[in-house]
Symmetry: C2
């Protein structure tokens, strides 16, 4: 079992490459501080479609086809599409995949889906089961609000600990060869539930899962936080990020110098009035495909740990009095470091 490192991590000996990425975001995300890193910024979040759900699916489809086109490949060259979203029964992904000539693996990890899909895609390419695979996810503020919370028309107020679902998508093409950023380790997480029941405080609900996966990853690989230029959680927001930082310190890991949360970065939280920050599958997907990937290419980052985080509740489970379980998956992406580190 040479590929397994420690309890929960696998090492990808063949270093599957992330050949290129595409990120698409909505107008509000396009006004945020990471604006220049996104490939496409939508002018309006319906994007000519009849419903927000159809707009989300179109955005995902466009990101995937753009990713294939940029690599001068055809759909039939791609062996697997690993894809998921937040909507009931994954309709954004299913309807995007309907128009693609690619075998489809539907995933649901709530907002952890970008690292879940990237990790699986990288493992499948590493093992030689695929020449090319695509990992992609999306979320949309308006389709998520009406499914998980309340009709937009109601104009309900949000408490300060709440987050704002990112309208965005990220798509990554994984292949075997070339001088591109590559995946070295994947640490898949366990479900953790510390009893948080407030669906407006998902950062707190997901933080224990992020802590568990980061801790496990560092223990399994023998790495220290400072071995990374960046450790990026998916969408814990300001509150969840603070909890994560403090809990990791209790376990002896000081991440503070390298730690960001994609949900905090994608918006100017105060100015854009998004309270604790961004959330949704599309948050870590667009930030990883945009900001992180481009800074790996430019050499600003050499080693990044992407830790997408998901809150695994549904409105039904909350109505039935259940707390909110969390999960986090971690993928180490590297470029330009020395050959043997």
């Amino acid at each position: 079992m040479g590929k397994r490192i420690g309890n929960q991590t696998v090492k990808l000996e063949n270093r599957p490459r992330i050949i290129n990425t595409t990120s698409i975001v909505g107008p509000k995300e396009g006004q945020g501080p990471l604006s220049k890193y996104f490939d496409i910024i939508l002018k309006d979040d319906l994007d000519g479609q009849e419903s927000y759900e159809k707009a989300e699916s179109k955005m995902l489809y466009c990101a995937i086809t753009e990713t294939i086109k940029k690599a001068n490949l055809k759909e039939s060259d791609i062996n697997y599409l690993f894809c998921g979203d937040l909507l009931n029964q994954l309709i954004s992904s299913n309807f995007a995949a309907r128009d693609l000539d690619i075998p489809f693996i539907g995933l649901y990890g709530a907002c952890s889906t970008m690292a879940e899909s990237l990790g699986l895609g990288a493992m499948i390419v590493d093992a030689g089961f695929a020449e090319y695979a695509i990992a992609a996810t999306s979320s949309h503020f308006s389709s998520a609000e009406r499914q998980f919370r309340a009709p937009l028309e109601m104009g309900g107020q949000k408490p300060p600990c709440s987050q704002w679902t990112v309208t965005g998508t990220g798509s990554m093409l994984i292949g075997k060869d070339g001088n591109f950023p590559y995946v070295t380790y994947v640490t898949n997480g366990k479900v953790k539930d510390y009893g948080i029941k407030d669906t407006n405080n998902m950062g707190a609900a997901m933080a224990p899962a992020a802590v568990d996966t980061i801790k496990q990853h560092l223990q399994d690989t023998g790495r220290k936080p400072e071995d990374y230029d960046l450790i990026a959680t998916g969408d814990l927001g300001k509150i969840g990020k603070k909890i994560t930082e403090e809990l990791l310190k209790e376990y002896g890991f000081n991440v503070q110098d390298v730690y960001i949360d994609c949900g905090e970065e994608i918006f100017d939280c105060k100015k854009q009035n998004v309270h604790s920050g961004g959330s949704g599958c599309g948050c870590s997907a667009s930030v990883a495909s945009g900001y992180i990937y481009k800074n790996l290419l430019s050499g600003k980052f050499k080693k990044v740990l992407l830790v997408s985080t998901g809150a695994l509740m549904s409105p039904t489970s909350s109505f039935q009095g259940e707390s909110i379980p969390g999960i986090a998956h971690a993928v180490a992406i590297e470029f330009g470091g020395s050959k043997n580190d």
Copy 2:
């Protein structure tokens, strides 16, 4: 790319084993013709829980823990749980996984999830990323009815082409060694949509996907239908099965002598008043973990192609006028054939 065979199939050279399985079904399924093959038959479908959703999650949890126990393993020996169900945001799987000390990969393939999870689990074990993995799925008649259709209390009538969601679960333990049935090929499907909009006729909506995946599998492997003792689709029911048989004949494949549909087999359709047959993730999961696996062990079957089939709509997509996309994943399971065939 020695592991890829043809366009869409991978060959598992290390023959990952299905070490054991557990199937649990509800009372109605326990009165059906496959009764003797199920490990546990629930006395009532709430099983002491407060809601059908919690009962479904408990059933799934019990199947997984029973599978681990039978192999004399601990939860911490299992490297991955590949698991999904039909409920919004996979709450059956998430809440089952919450109580398990196993890294969790959430999947959504509608009723195709058993072959999706088994295929991925087998690939991951074959590649050496895991010593043990579990593949499991569930569905529950009463949780599915109220989510996808109408409140049970309404007592709505069902048209003759409709199907009955199986209350059931199947769990399979995949490992590297031992004298057990093993997985040889995995063919993951593409999403196919022929424009069916009637959510009471899911068999017709899924049939084109089943046809495409079976045809592709046979072309990729060079096998003929008669090389299999059994080709089992997941839950097309009588109507979908007939369409599949006819379409495959048009492509030159006569499957009639070896072809069953799990949804048709699990119930005595006429006597048990389930119209076209059973459906749901739990249908192919319980039939594969019960009837098929036990008949592989006994030597009745030597080569089986499990083709779980999923209808990828949601109530929201149907309300918005969308048709029903289908998908089918195929996994070849074999035992006791000659070493090199």
